[in-house]
Structure formats: structure tokens, C-alpha cells
Point group: C2
Chain length 204, copies 2
């Protein structure tokens, strides 16, 4: 049998996780361009050569951070869904709210998630179950998909709308990104377009 090695047994404890956390903090504080192996190492309190034992270059580190960020992104949406109403319409609204919230609180991490090459992370995720980030969206859209229709159409409509709004918001198109606690007065009216997807929910 292959034994699971105890990764916490050596000097640092769990340097790999510490470097990922350091990387996320650097992203939040200083933006995408500041994410380097040397800075992550310094923040984690190790020498600059140490990360080479854990990641395949800066690309490997970015990938690992994207994976962790992706998981936090998913969790933010799940929390938002749980905290909101339970109707199909409320589910979609809440998830979009969580989507925007995550991006506003972690703009550089959000950008990193969506900039890791040809979306290997997403392809993996889209094939995964309902607990995946894309699965959360799929579940929320399902009640609105007309019988026999391709669910990807409505899923992509919802995803495009919230993704575009979020990007424009982060880019400052609607004014400073910290405008209101409600993020921006345009959010609710813009999202109201989704009241029109697929007519009424397919089931009560």
C-alpha cells in the first residue's frame, strides 16, 4: 500500500500552505504584479530559495493560489446563497451577490482566478459535481431552463451578466469601487434583467 506522507513533519510545518496564504495576502495588498516567489518566501519568513521545493516556478505558485482562491470563491457564493431567500429567483440573486462581494473583497485574487491560462481550473471544475463553483451556478439556473433546452445558454447568460458587471465595477467604470456598502445602486436594477431568463421557473 502507498502510505500518505505526513507533509507537516519537517522544519516549517506546512510551508506550502503558508506560501499560498502569503501569496493571497500579497495579492490583496499589492496586486497581481507583486506576486513573486521571493516576496512570498519573505512574507512566509523563509529564504527565497525555499519555495522551489514546493512549486514549479512562479507559474506553479500562481496555479496553487488560483486553486485555493477558487475554493474560497465557491464558499463565498454558497454562504451568500444560504443567507438569502430560498426561492429560485432569490438563489440566483444571492449567488450573484456573493460573486460580486468576493471580487470586491479580493480583486487581485479574482483576477488571478480568471487569468490562469486556458482555464484548466475551470474545465476541471465544470466537470465536477454540484458542490463545485460552476455546479452552484448550474443548480441555481436549473429551475429556469425550459424543457429540452440547452442549460448552458441560461447558465452563460447569468454568468456573463454578473461577470461583466463585476469586471466593470472593479475597473471603476461606475465610479470608485468602494462607493457604497451596497457596492453600487446599479447592481439590483441591472440584475433585474435576469427576471426574464427562461420565462417562469419550470417547476414550482
Amino acid at each position: 500500500m502507498v502510505e500518505v506522507k505526513d507533509k507537516k513533519s519537517h522544519h516549517h510545518g506546512d510551508l506550502r500552505a503558508a506560501l499560498i496564504q502569503s501569496g493571497i495576502e500579497i495579492l490583496t495588498e499589492s496586486g497581481l504584479d507583486s506576486l513573486t516567489l521571493r516576496r512570498c518566501a519573505a512574507r512566509a519568513g523563509v529564504s527565497h530559495a525555499a519555495p522551489a521545493h514546493h512549486f514549479d516556478g512562479v507559474a506553479g505558485l500562481r496555479g496553487a493560489i488560483a486553486k485555493e482562491g477558487f475554493d474560497r470563491f465557491r464558499q463565498t457564493m454558497l454562504k451568500a446563497r444560504a443567507a438569502g431567500g430560498q426561492s429560485p429567483e432569490a438563489h440566483i440573486r444571492s449567488i450573484c451577490r456573493g460573486y460580486l462581494d468576493f471580487a470586491v473583497e479580493n480583486p487581485a485574487l479574482f483576477a488571478l482566478i480568471f487569468s490562469c491560462g486556458p482555464m484548466a481550473q475551470f474545465e476541471e471544475d465544470m466537470k465536477a459535481g454540484d458542490a463545485s463553483a460552476y455546479g452552484v451556478l448550474r443548480q441555481a439556473c436549473a429551475p429556469f431552463v425550459p424543457p429540452g433546452a440547452d442549460p448552458r445558454i441560461i447558465e452563460t447568460q447569468v454568468w456573463s451578466l454578473i461577470h461583466g458587471f463585476t469586471h466593470l465595477f472593479l475597473a471603476g467604470t461606475f465610479g470608485p469601487a468602494n462607493a457604497t456598502p451596497d457596492h453600487h445602486a446599479l447592481f439590483a436594477p441591472v440584475m433585474s434583467l435576469l427576471q426574464k431568463i427562461g420565462g417562469e421557473p419550470a417547476t414550482g
Copy 2:
């Protein structure tokens, strides 16, 4: 009277424009991270110290490239509008098509346009007339704005949808970005959501 100085009278001719063009080519060929003063200078055939006479650092160069890219972006949408149908619905469809086309053909330039800090470029543009990029969108949306409604709602709905779809498309979320000559089979059905904005056009 203030005379307009002839900028073409010195050694190079118009190094400033040449550097901007070189920068756009570098963006297209090698991506955002490859855009440096030294590479632009090399591509334009001048020494690496020459750009300092024309731009305030790499930020100044990026800004100038964004401005030029923004203008090409606008022109692509105008051409798409002219080439398509003349109904209000066709105008919106054509503009969105041009939006996606530009991004697919110039992904790094598209990214640069939307990543230049707090969108000074856009703020300027949004205040400009109907010939501006935002003006093109505003004009196209106008027939769908119900009397008394805030036009920014519909404008932001359309903009968010096409912007999000474009970003997801470029990120490879729907598969390789060169999938079909028609870009992707999801484009038309996803954009059909816009048939629902503001009910019917306000005027015939």
C-alpha cells in the same frame, strides 16, 4: 497665436506614434507582461533611452496605447454597426458582435484598455459625444429605454452581458478561443437575452 509645432520635423519622423504602434504589436504577439519601454524602443528601431523623450515612464506608454486601442475599439463597433441591419435590435446585436470581434483579435490590447487604473479613459469617454465608444452604446440602447427611466440601467445591462461574455470567451471558459469562425455557438443564444430589455423599443 500659438503655432502648432510640426512633430514630424525631427530625426525619426514621429517616434511617439511609432512607439505606440510597436507597443500594440508587442501586446498582440506576446501579451501584457511583455510591454516594456525597452522592447517598444527596440521594435521601433531606436535606442532604449529614446522613449523617455515621449512618455512619462511605462505608465505613460500604457496610457497612450490604451487611448489608441480605445479608439480602434470604437471604430470596430462603428464598422460592425454599419455593416449590420438598421433596426434597433440589429444595432445592439452588431455592436456586441464588434465588441467581441475586437477582443478576440486584440485580446491583450482589450485587457489593457480595461486595466488602466481607475478608468480615466472611460470617464473622459463617457462625458464625450455620441461619437465616443460609450456614446455608440448609449445611442443603441436609447430606443429601449422606457420613458422616465434611467438610461444607465439598460446600458449597463447590455454592457455587462457582452463584457462578461467576452471575458469568459477570452479566458477559454467555453473552449479554445479560436473555436469557430463564428467565435462560438453560444454567442447568439446568450445575446438573445437582450430581446427582453425594456420591453419593446420606445419608438418605431
